[in-house]
C-alpha cells in the first residue's frame, strides 16, 4: 500500500504561505505534531507556549478576536481533557476562528491511557459552534485544511501524523460535511472513520467474495453530521448497520449514526465497533486493534453475527496488514 510521510508538516507550510493571519501555537510538542517545518519557515508566526494548555486555549481566543487564525497543535488529549472549560468559554462560546489540531487519536500510540485520545469526538461535538473533522488517509490529512478554511468558527481536527496510507484517489478530495462512498451494497451498511477505514477496506473485498453486499461509507465530518447520503445509506441495508471507529463507542461515530437513525425512524440493528467503554493501555497499534476488536477481523466477526452465518474468513484472507515499526518514520519521533 502506498503511503505518504509527514503530510501535515509539508502541507501546512505550503498552505499558510500567503496567509499571514495564520499563527501556530505549540505546547512543547513541535516536531511531535509536525509543526517544526512551519516554525522554520515562519518563525514570526510560531509561538512556543510551553505546557500551558489552558492558557493557550484562552490566548488563542484572544488572538482570534483581533483577526488572527491560531492553529493550536498538541496531542489531542491535552486539548480536550486539560482545557475543556477554556475551549468552551474562550473559543467556542464567542465562536472564534481557532483551529485545534489534535494528534494521536485513540490507540495509534503506545503511550497508554494518558496519551490515547479515546473520547475526544464525544466531548468536542457537544460544544455549540464547534466543527469536528477527522481525516482518514494521507490525502485527506492535506485536504482538510482547504476544506475547513472558510468555516468562521472553531474547528477541531483529529489529525494523523507520520506515515499515513493513501486510501483515496487524490482527484476525489475530501468534502466537508460529505461522507465518502467507498462501496455500494445492500446487505449491510458500514460507516467507518479515521484509521478504521483502512482496516475496513482490508476486509471489504473478501466480504464481497463471500457474497456480502456491503455499503461502505467513510466519514470525515463528525459535526455537523447531516449529510443526506448518511441517512440514505442507513435506510438501505437488509440486515443492519455497523459503525467502526478508533474511539469509545459512546459519543463518537456510533452515536452519531444512532442519532440519525433514531430521529428518522430507521428501525434497523446497529453494531458499534470501537473501544467498548474501556481505556486501553500502552502497546502497539496492531496489538491494541486486535485485543479491542477494532481491526478487519473484528469487522468480519460482526458481519457474520449480523447475517447469521459463518463466512470462513481468516486473517490470511484479509489484505495484508500495513506494518509500521515503532521507531520508524511512521512516528515523527519518540511520542
Amino acid at each position: 500500500m502506498k503511503t505518504k510521510t509527514r503530510v501535515h508538516a509539508k502541507k501546512l507550510v505550503e498552505w499558510a504561505k500567503d496567509k499571514p493571519e495564520v499563527l501556530v501555537l505549540s505546547a512543547d510538542l513541535t516536531s511531535n505534531t509536525e509543526v517544526d517545518l512551519f516554525r522554520a519557515a515562519y518563525p514570526d508566526r510560531f509561538l512556543s507556549m510551553g505546557m500551558t494548555e489552558q492558557n493557550i486555549s484562552s490566548f488563542a481566543g484572544g488572538l482570534a478576536r483581533e483577526g488572527f487564525v491560531p492553529f493550536f497543535h498538541t496531542f489531542a488529549i491535552f486539548i480536550y481533557r486539560r482545557a475543556f472549560d477554556q475551549i468552551s468559554m474562550s473559543i467556542a462560546y464567542p465562536n472564534m476562528k481557532v483551529r485545534l489540531v489534535g494528534f494521536l487519536p485513540g490507540i495509534v500510540t503506545p503511550g497508554g491511557a494518558t496519551h490515547q485520545a479515546i473520547e475526544d469526538i464525544a466531548l468536542m461535538r457537544t460544544l455549540p459552534n464547534m466543527t469536528v473533522v477527522e481525516p482518514g488517509d494521507a490525502n485527506e490529512v492535506a485536504q482538510v485544511l482547504d476544506e475547513i478554511e472558510n468555516i468562521d468558527g472553531p474547528v477541531y481536527i483529529r489529525q494523523l501524523r507520520g506515515e499515513v496510507p493513501v486510501l483515496f484517489d487524490e482527484s476525489e478530495p475530501m468534502k466537508f460535511r460529505r461522507a465518502r462512498q467507498l462501496q455500494e451494497g445492500s446487505d449491510i451498511t458500514l460507516f467507518s472513520s479515521g484509521i478504521c477505514t483502512e482496516e475496513a477496506m482490508r476486509a471489504s473485498k473478501v466480504l464481497a467474495e463471500r457474497g456480502i453486499s456491503l455499503q461502505h461509507m467513510h466519514v470525515s465530518t463528525h459535526k455537523p453530521f447531516n449529510d443526506p447520503a448518511i441517512l440514505a445509506a442507513a435506510e438501505k441495508p437488509k440486515y443492519g448497520i455497523i459503525t467502526m471507529e478508533n474511539h469509545t463507542i459512546i459519543g463518537g461515530l456510533g452515536s452519531e449514526v444512532a442519532e440519525v437513525m433514531a430521529e428518522n425512524g430507521v428501525g434497523k440493528k446497529l453494531a458499534r465497533i470501537g473501544l467498548q467503554d474501556t481505556y486501553a493501555h500502552g502497546a502497539s497499534r496492531l496489538y491494541l486493534m486486535r485485543t479491542h476488536g477494532l481491526d478487519a477481523l473484528a469487522l468480519v466477526e460482526r458481519v457474520e453475527k449480523m447475517v447469521g452465518e459463518k463466512l470462513n474468513i481468516t486473517e490470511a484472507d484479509l489484505q495484508e496488514v500495513r506494518l509500521n515499526e515503532v521507531h520508524s518514520e511512521a512516528k515523527a519521533e519518540a511520542l
Binding site: 509561538l47 507556549m49 510551553g50 500551558t52 489552558q54 492558557n55 493557550i56 486555549s57 484562552s58 490566548f59 488563542a60 481566543g61 484572544g62 488572538l63 482570534a64 478576536r65 483581533e66 483577526g67 488572527f68 491560531p70 472549560d85 477554556q86 468559554m89 474562550s90 462560546y93 464567542p94 465562536n95 455549540p128 459552534n129 468562521d152 468558527g153
Partner: protein, 307 residues
C-alpha cells in the same frame, strides 16, 4: 492645590458607585456590595483618569440580549462599545471577575456611559445587564465568568495588537482569588516570556472569596513576591486611594506586564458591613431590621451627595 480637580472627581465617582450599589442591594435585598466597597476607587480611577478611551458608542439604555454568538447570529454585539471605539492608539478595558458586573454597571452610570434605566434592568429576563456579566453585557468585551481565563485572553489580544503595531494599553481588572488558579500563573509566565508590556493589570486585593477570608480558605500571600517571581512589574498600593492608583498606573514597564496589587478594605465606606465578616461575597439581608440599618446609611449618602 490646583491639581486636586481630578482627585475630587474620582472620589465623587467612587462615592457614587458605592451609593448606587448600596441602593440596588437594599432594593433587591441582595447584591455584590462588598465588591463595590473594596473596588469603587479602582473603578473611579480607571474611568475618570487612567483609561485612554473614547466616548461611548453604545446606547444609553442597553439593547436586549441578542442571542448567543454563532455563525447564524448576525445581530450579535458585545458590550465593548460602552468603552468607546476600537483604535490602534486607544486603550482597551477588560473585566475578569465578572461577579463585579454590578459595580461596573454602576460605574458606567456614574460616568455617563449608561443610563440609570440600564442599571435597573440588572438580572431581569432578556436583558444584557446580567448578574454575572458576559461579553454582551455593557462594558464587557470577553466572557470571563469562569475565573482565571481573562488574563490569557487579554494576553492573546495584547500579543495580536503588538503584531499589528497598536500602541494602546490593555487593561485588565482582576480579583485576588484568581491567583489561586493555575491558569493565572501560566498566563503570567507567557506574558513575561513574550514581554507583553502592553498588558496592565489592576488586582482588587480585598482578601475575600465566596467561602470567606482568603487567608483561611487558601492563602495566596505573599502575593507581591510571588507575582514578581514570575517576572511581572509589581506595584503594591492602597487600593482605596485614587492618587496612589493613578500614580501606579502611570508606570509603563519595558518588557514585562504591569501588575498593580491594589490592597483594599472590603467594607470601605460602609463600616457596618464589617459585622458580616468573614462572609462578604454576596450580601443578602437577614432581617428587615438589618435592611433598615443599611437604608439609614443610604439616606446619609444621598444627603452627602445631594441626591
Amino acid at each position: 492645590m490646583s491639581n486636586e480637580i481630578w482627585q475630587d472627581e474620582a472620589r465623587s465617582v467612587a462615592a457614587g458607585i458605592r451609593r448606587r450599589v448600596l441602593e440596588h442591594t437594599i432594593k433587591n435585598n441582595g447584591g455584590y456590595l462588598s465588591q463595590a466597597c473594596s473596588s469603587a476607587e479602582i473603578w473611579a480611577s480607571l474611568y475618570t483618569k487612567i483609561l485612554n478611551i473614547g466616548e461611548s458608542e453604545a446606547p444609553m439604555i442597553p439593547a436586549p440580549f441578542p442571542g448567543v454568538p454563532g455563525a447564524d447570529n448576525e445581530n450579535y454585539f458585545t458590550g465593548r462599545a460602552y468603552n468607546g471605539p476600537k483604535a490602534p492608539h486607544l486603550d482597551r478595558f477588560f473585566l475578569s471577575p465578572v461577579q463585579y458586573a454590578l459595580v461596573l454597571y454602576a460605574t458606567l452610570v456614574e460616568v455617563g456611559r449608561m443610563s440609570q434605566e440600564g442599571l435597573e434592568q440588572f438580572n431581569s429576563d432578556g436583558s444584557t445587564v446580567e448578574m454575572i456579566g458576559a461579553e454582551h453585557s455593557p462594558g464587557h468585551e470577553i466572557t470571563a465568568g469562569s475565573l482565571g481565563q481573562a488574563l490569557s485572553q487579554v494576553a492573546g489580544i495584547a500579543c495580536a495588537r503588538r503584531k499589528k503595531g497598536d500602541t494602546g494599553r490593555n487593561w485588565l481588572f482582576m480579583s485576588d482569588g484568581e491567583f489561586q488558579i493555575g491558569q493565572t500563573w501560566e498566563a503570567l509566565a507567557v506574558a513575561k516570556f513574550y514581554e507583553l508590556d502592553n498588558i496592565s493589570v489592576i488586582v482588587d486585593v480585598n482578601g475575600q472569596q465566596a467561602d470567606g477570608a482568603m487567608k483561611d480558605v487558601l492563602n495566596i500571600e505573599p502575593l507581591t513576591s510571588r507575582v514578581e517571581a514570575f517576572g511581572a512589574h509589581v506595584v503594591k498600593v492602597n487600593g482605596n486611594d485614587v492618587e496612589a492608583l493613578v500614580e501606579a498606573a502611570s508606570i509603563q514597564p519595558e518588557g514585562a506586564p504591569l501588575v498593580i496589587l491594589a490592597y483594599t478594605v472590603p467594607y470601605y465606606g460602609i463600616d457596618l458591613l464589617e459585622k458580616r465578616s468573614p462572609k462578604l461575597h454576596y450580601v443578602r439581608f437577614k432581617s428587615e431590621e438589618e435592611r433598615a440599618e443599611y437604608a439609614e446609611i443610604l439616606d446619609l449618602m444621598n444627603k452627602e451627595q445631594g441626591i
